[in-house]
Symmetry: T
Subunit: 148 residues, 12 copies
């Protein structure tokens, strides 16, 4: 079973800027934790990051070999109909994760264009959002396989 | 470490009605799974269900011995300022969970009055929302203890 | 055939307060008229009143022996997602009635959270709303039986 | 006692089109049921249908010999201030009926311009909405006579 | 002259939690101050607290022996049509009080469903809101008596 | 110079119904006053009334021999884009008049679809709105002639 | 009979600036026309202009010797609750006039805070709005006298 | 194959008024072009125009012999639920056309009540909108026939 | 301790106009009651009234010798950002009072621009609003002194 | 004459995913049909697809040699001001096409940012939307040439 | 070349109150910096401050000898249509400046009634907003002269 | 001191298209003026342009060696949360500039997603917006240095 992790725009800055808000953990640190958990759960991981809306659309379109996606769409959560349409088109179960609780932030961040096409949403648990998201993805992928 | 699970209104009907929507798993089945995982994680669980807004406020007010709450506020998610205020008052980290992805349902279910006072939110993974929620709660409680 | 009548909050005050608005007929008077009509139509009635949202949810959950519900949700019409979810869950045909024409009153009373899960709505005919509602309930229940 | 029944636009197509939605009963079938019930209740009926807003205004203006109106304004429910003003002007008690539960349909059908000038509203009971509406009209007309 | 004081949901936690926001004064402390002032003004007090919407409706319905009510509806200020209807029904002059200035808080706390049926509103003066509210209630009750 | 007066829907009922609101003056009475003033001002009048939106569109389309229109669109003020488009198409200066001050009435009567294509609007002066409207129309027509 | 004319802010610039929009007629020119018509109608005029909201409130408060007011509130039409309250307080019939058709201009000029307390509104006829307004004022004042 | 073309209100004025906006082509000119194209495509045309909402409803109801409709609802696009319901009822594929690009005009013209029941919409190409609409209608009708 | 009372626009008319609404008590009467209570409480009063927004801003700016302000901003409550900014700038605790319950009046009076910068708000108790406001002001001023 | 066709994001997936919704025709199939029609109409085609908003802006900026554009902006229809500005800047007549009727889909897809700068819009006819769009583009280009 | 600087309400308090927010620089300090820069740029300055909306209207009306205005409308930015109309009337190029970035403050401060009639807007640079505004004003005035 | 200038989408077309709106000055011309002023102010400039949202995010992320940014986000002003988040993340003071006064243009251009994270905003002065923006940037950078 292969799972694809997608990090959206500005997440490559994690741990380098605004450490007081987002903590000192870098994206590499999070990726290491994800790889450890993946090993534990016996699944293979592919991890990508992009600041470009169109590139993320391309990545999703080329994900047909994966059993599930875990995506943190970051800023594109609130503006990208293109990413939404890509997720809907590929029909691979997708888990939406957010480091911070988006419902506690500015009004314009409360609404997610991705949520209606995602399987489920996890937000607010910091790097744990990714780890819980990976568990959820594996669980969904297993259930899907069990059905076929 | 003791964790309190609160099931909101109409969740006692799970598995007995609308099985086509919510599946054939009953609330007892979910509670059994929660207890198994709790054992696994080495934490103690207390589980309560109520259809009464005031009773849920009372339960939350009396939760001072717990390290974290996991609550599925169900219908009260969208209408109860009283439950919100109770969670804010007791200052125990709270994980909000939903069986279904509330962002895919009717417009009036998109907004959560509870989310801004919760630590994080998990929605859309069926009974897995509870299990992921319990993991998140334990993780937060550990982090909090680590700080003291 | 058994029909359940549910009176929502403050309806126990009927005829005792604000007689200039709601008339001098008490809830007992309305219940007597309902029982007379029920006899006439050959159906059995159970009648309950509560000021508590949670109690009304409990009553609806325990109505599985009834062929239909007639409910005047009163103030909870506009605020209770929990009662709405309970009606949706039990899947018993439900007639929503209102003494006054809610569309003539304050803006916030125009919208009913109950209407989308009710079979139909009757509002504005005073105690006649209940009698018409009982007739409608019997008619629906007969149609449902005819289908099985 | 004479009661006027007014069928609004497109109701002449009942039972001929969209039978899967509106059933196989034609407008003539409904009118026959209304006439039977009228006989039963000892009242005289006049029944009219029009697709033209202006014609319905004319019909209402010329209804001064009737004790009550039962109107299904259909599509004009949501757009006709002229029919509303005509009902308000003639000051004959008016019962608004709808075959389907308008609160379950598209957003723009939730609001009725007619409701604030009607005595009461009955919606969602199929042809029974008309029969309940006729009963309500007779009851109101009797009450009005009893007052004079 | 007898005055009824009603404390809404979560006010039983005053002084025990969130002391940095609401101060160290407990509900008992406030009640003592109210009793002292009542003695001073020569009126009798009854004081109740509940976290249950339905119970508060019951309390208001049974308040017919009181000359005036002073209520802090807390969270139910913004969500309870049932409490609003109960106040309107009993027709006893009612003073609405709030510890904090609700107009400075979250958007959803700016609107009060209770205000349109209350005699007046006092908000923002901490425990003084209650003392000013009691003075206002006595003054209104005297004026009402003077009229009869 | 010929001026066309158009009375919209339900204005034929003036003075016959709702005399407490609209006064005891009939549409004939108003027409007589208009004819007297027209004589005084040395202009010819044509006066039409219709309850039908389409008919009013036809009347406006056929008004090319008139120097100006005075229209009380009544209920169609708020709902008819067709009448608006007809006025815009014929390019004859049009005075919009209303018996009552529409800004004091229900919210949905505050907005006029006709106003943006009318030369000016006069509302609230009872039958005087028509007389002032006729004066305005003559004045505009004179000014237009003066320009050619 | 004495009538008071009030010109609101920036009207003193008429004919001096933006002549392409407002024409070359100055405020003095309009006042002369008003005085001529007043003579004709046998009434006495007082005419005032101010750019200050508070001064206009003072003027209205001191208008008790006048039978009617004609006011062009200009920019304060859309922002002054104080002028609205002053008009409501003095209870002298008030005619609201506008040179331009405010319904054709920017969205924020469509709404008049003054209209709900004015007897009627005339807008869009240039200087004729004032002359028609004066006629309307005299007519209302005569009708009021006739009633006493 | 027979196709029905329906021209809505005020379209009979095309080419006679506002030639600067709508061009000098009359409705007859457009009809001639439509007939030429119809001949070319080997289909039969029926063409109707009406300013009356009710008449257009009648025309649509009587269109059962046609394979497709091409309608320019003009002003009724934005206000007629009755025409919408008629199109939905007859279940004949319908192409909605507009001479001008309605999305470039006033805000209230951006929304079409007809669009959700039409097969597709073509707007902004002047008389070409009709010709493209006829092509689309023939194409849809052929596809529908192919399915049976 | 010196307290400043500011009466906003139109309050100079109290008791002289609209006595049926605002009662027969004049502003002088209220000021006398305020002076009596001030004496009782051992504080010094300064009382000012103005119809001019700019003057009220000047008064507030020059209030640095007062311990607290009591202001009834009347109509400026809803429109004056300048008075709001002045209160925020001088940093003297300010009590906002209203004779009538502004939450029962027109929609546009429900929102107060002043409330978010005021210490608290008292509305609906007639002249008692001022007396309660003075008590509140003294209490706040004492508390502030106690803190230093 | 050269026409440029631009396919927006995710259209490269056509016929490969969600075949039940979008049909089994691939983008290549549509391009073949477009080329056939182009040959038929005697025009030259250039066809491009991109998932990147910025790339589409680049393509449009470099389109100065084309007589007209046909663009299906897909998801960017609703979010891209940059594409809108590019179309406005190059001043080449642009036809906006959509496979599905966007007015029948989710609320957020009803509004097009592109429409106000496009010549016209065609939506809902599947691949026929492109063919009709090409015909429209050629027709506009011819008309433009005719003018020069 | 003469430039007029206008400081709106409460700006006379700069540096004296809320020094933590607005800094310790007084209005005199800013005026000195402005005068220095004016000398540098070879232009003459006139500087005025007022807390009165009407006075600011008067000042603007009397500014015909100036080549450009620089205005900080402060609180009147959001509420004064009268100042907006005055700026539009005098037709002197106007630069709008704000000390703080109004887009970062309360929601009601985001919208400027002045912006649509100003040449441009500068906000957020503290006293530098004035200096940049003066440079902009000189630049515009030069360009305007260059055009004549 | 090094300053980075970023030009957003479509600005590469300046002076080549729509010269009537944006003038005949090209982006190169503006860059030359910026370089001249930079020399004058003794600072180093780097200037970049991109039509791609993701590229602009990358540019901002890599700007850590600059003392300040001057950005004209053009179309992305209104749609890009990603650029906003990038600016917030890098914590380099940023000046937002616009050639045209965005508050005078279409409604959807009034709101800037960038403004709340920018230091200040300058809009409406044509190429001068850039020059003023550079001065502002240097001034802020100097102030920041002064603080360290």
């Amino acid at each position: 079973m292969k799972i694809l992790i997608i990090h959206g725009p500005n997440l490559n800055l994690l741990g380098k800027r605004e450490a007081d808000i987002y903590g000192s953990m870098t994206l590499d640190d999070i990726n290491n934790l994800l790889n450890l958990l993946a090993k534990d759960l016996g699944v293979e991981l592919e991890i990508k990051q992009s600041n470009h809306e169109g590139e993320i659309v391309d990545i999703i379109q080329n994900s047909k070999d994966y059993s599930a996606l875990v995506i943190n769409p970051a800023a594109y959560t609130h503006t990208s109909v293109a990413i939404r349409d890509a997720i809907a088109a590929v029909e691979i179960p997708t888990v939406e994760v957010h480091l911070s609780n988006i419902h506690k932030r500015e009004e314009f961040r409360h609404n997610s264009l991705i949520a209606p096409v995602a399987y489920g949403q996890i937000s607010g648990f910091g790097f744990d959002s990714y780890l819980l998201g990976l568990r959820a993805a594996v669980s969904i992928a297993n259930a899907c396989n069990g059905n076929s």
